[in-house]
């Protein structure tokens, strides 16, 4: 029972990361109908930047700031240099271009930092707090939950309450009409990619210390989990991605805790297939899945 409670809370923290990562995928999907397969690689690149900055300043927090800023910049660059030009021929091209970026980014990181795992410290302890002899939840898990919650609230305010958010929603739903009304849709898309990459970078910063450490491919499996989270919402629903992320996190925590961590990739695959086969449009999607 004690273990079950701990695994649940730990799974929620892990799930919060998947939720954030899935949310970033949803952001881009809504705006451009592209699944950004490069998001994991972009996030790892931001985390490496944080590693360097933390190494130089000795402060985790400066590293975190650098990762978020780096994510913003990388996301904007990818949209401006690649995605803006790749989307014209068909739906296949942006996906292939993103996969090319995965190879390129991971290779560049390997060249600069080497292909070994770099262990990364957490700003708070990862040992569980005990309440009346019960292992409950670690301070770091609380930090993760708090950080993701903060970002989600900020995004909700940005999208729901600001002019920029209104532009982004309009540009995603009706790009042509938005342009006729004076919205600079190109800039809005750049901003969307930048924001999504920054959220992805945050996810990487939060999850990498809890795994084997920093490595060019460290986010590959997280990508699949985050993708599964996004698919739960039919790729279109931010709420769906959050709920999906938490669900995936808890399930994986149980699988890892009771069956061993080697089983988690298999569990992710089974989860993804289950969601897709049961509800191809996602559990939260308001629109009918595209079917012939």
């Amino acid at each position: 029972m004690e273990r079950f409670v701990f695994l649940t809370l730990d799974g929620l923290a892990r799930g919060a990361v998947y939720a954030a990562f899935g949310l970033a995928l949803v952001l881009i999907w809504r705006g451009t109908r592209v699944v950004n397969f490069a998001q994991g690689a972009l996030a790892v690149a931001s985390a490496y930047l944080a590693y360097t900055v933390t190494g130089a300043t000795g402060s985790y927090w400066w590293g975190l700031v650098a990762a978020l800023a780096g994510g913003l910049a990388l996301g904007a660059l990818v949209e401006l240099l690649v995605m803006r030009w790749a989307g014209r021929a068909g739906p296949l091209e942006p996906v292939i271009a993103a996969l090319g970026l995965v190879l390129l980014i991971q290779a560049l990181l390997g060249m600069v930092y080497g292909n070994d795992f770099h262990p990364v410290d957490t700003p708070f302890a990862r040992t569980a707090l005990t309440v009346r002899g019960f292992d409950l939840v670690s301070p770091y898990d609380l930090f993760v939950l708090g950080a993701v919650l903060t970002v989600m609230l900020l995004l909700a305010v940005l999208f729901g309450r600001t002019k920029t958010g209104l532009r982004m929603r309009a540009a995603a739903f009706a790009p042509e009409v938005s342009r006729l009304l004076g919205v600079r849709v190109g800039r809005v898309l750049t901003l969307g990619w930048a924001l999504a990459a920054a959220v992805g970078a945050l996810a990487a910063m939060l999850v990498i210390p809890t795994e084997l450490g920093l490595h060019p491919t460290a986010m590959d499996l997280v990508f699949v989990s985050g993708f599964t989270a996004a698919v739960v919402g039919g790729l279109d629903s931010p709420v769906g991605a959050v709920v999906g992320g938490l669900g995936v996190g808890v399930v994986l925590s149980y699988v890892g805790g009771y069956l061993g961590s080697d089983a988690t990739p298999v569990a992710v695959l089974l989860l993804l297939l289950t969601v897709l086969l049961l509800r191809p449009g996602g559990l939260f999607s308001t629109v009918q899945a595209r079917r012939v």
Partner: protein, 232 residues
């Protein structure tokens, strides 16, 4: 008086197939010009080329003495050129209020609030449905919203593509009366694309007929001409 809009030799189309074939057109300020013609005559393509949604293959569009070649869509509305596309392109996932505010996001002046209030005054039903989503509106309400959304940007030239499509005659009459009033009070210039010839002619100062991508005649006031080109 110098025309507000001058179109010369405009040729445009989709994927290399020309739909517009050397169109010439001039519209005086504070007038309503009706563009008539059958389906497929190129009316919508003309409007899309004017607002910059498609790039012309040849010819030029001069607006207020300025050549619009190379001016992107988003900037044309800033110059006072508003386009209400066919099918009342309300953003269905946004509320009425958000749809309206979307149109004034680019404005930096202090009168935005006043202009929004004016639109709500002009279209009372919209004020009552302020927080409803676009997809909950009726056809007439959508047309009001699309029109109000264009007007709130304070345009000098309004491009209206088939505003009467699918609307009740009473609503059509209201909209056209409003256009005539705005022309007389604010000096608004309107390019009105219509298939509904009778109602368009009732407010238009001038009409042109398009067929097969060309402006075939610049005067349809004569009943015989009307018969020849429109078949009734």
């Amino acid at each position: 008086m110098r025309p507000l809009l001058e179109v010369q030799g405009l040729t445009a189309g989709y994927g290399g197939v020309p739909v517009l074939d050397e169109v010439d057109l001039a519209i005086e300020p504070a007038t309503i010009c009706a563009v008539l013609g059958a389906n497929g005559a190129g009316k919508t393509t003309l409007v899309r080329a004017l607002s910059g949604l498609i790039r012309p293959a040849a010819g030029q569009v001069v607006y207020d003495g300025r050549n619009l070649d190379g001016v992107p869509v988003e900037d044309r509305v800033r110059l006072g050129l508003a386009h209400v596309p066919e099918g009342r392109a309300v953003v269905e996932q946004l509320t009425v209020d958000e749809n309206l505010r979307l149109a004034v996001l680019w404005r930096r002046d202090r009168h935005v609030r006043r202009d929004l209030a004016e639109v709500y005054e002009l279209f009372e039903p919209l004020a009552r449905r302020r927080s409803h989503l676009g997809h909950q509106l009726s056809g007439g309400e959508r047309q009001m919203l699309a029109l109000g959304r264009a007007l709130v940007a304070g345009p000098r030239l309004l491009l209206l593509d088939e505003p009467s499509l699918g609307l009740a005659p009473k609503v059509i009459a209201e909209i056209l009366t409003l256009l005539a009033r705005l022309r007389d009070t604010t000096g608004l210039t309107v390019l009105l694309v219509e298939q509904n010839v009778r109602s368009a002619l009732s407010v238009a100062d001038r009409s042109v007929v398009m067929a097969l991508g060309r402006v075939t005649t610049a005067d349809v006031s004569d009943a015989t001409l009307r018969h020849a080109y429109l078949g009734f």
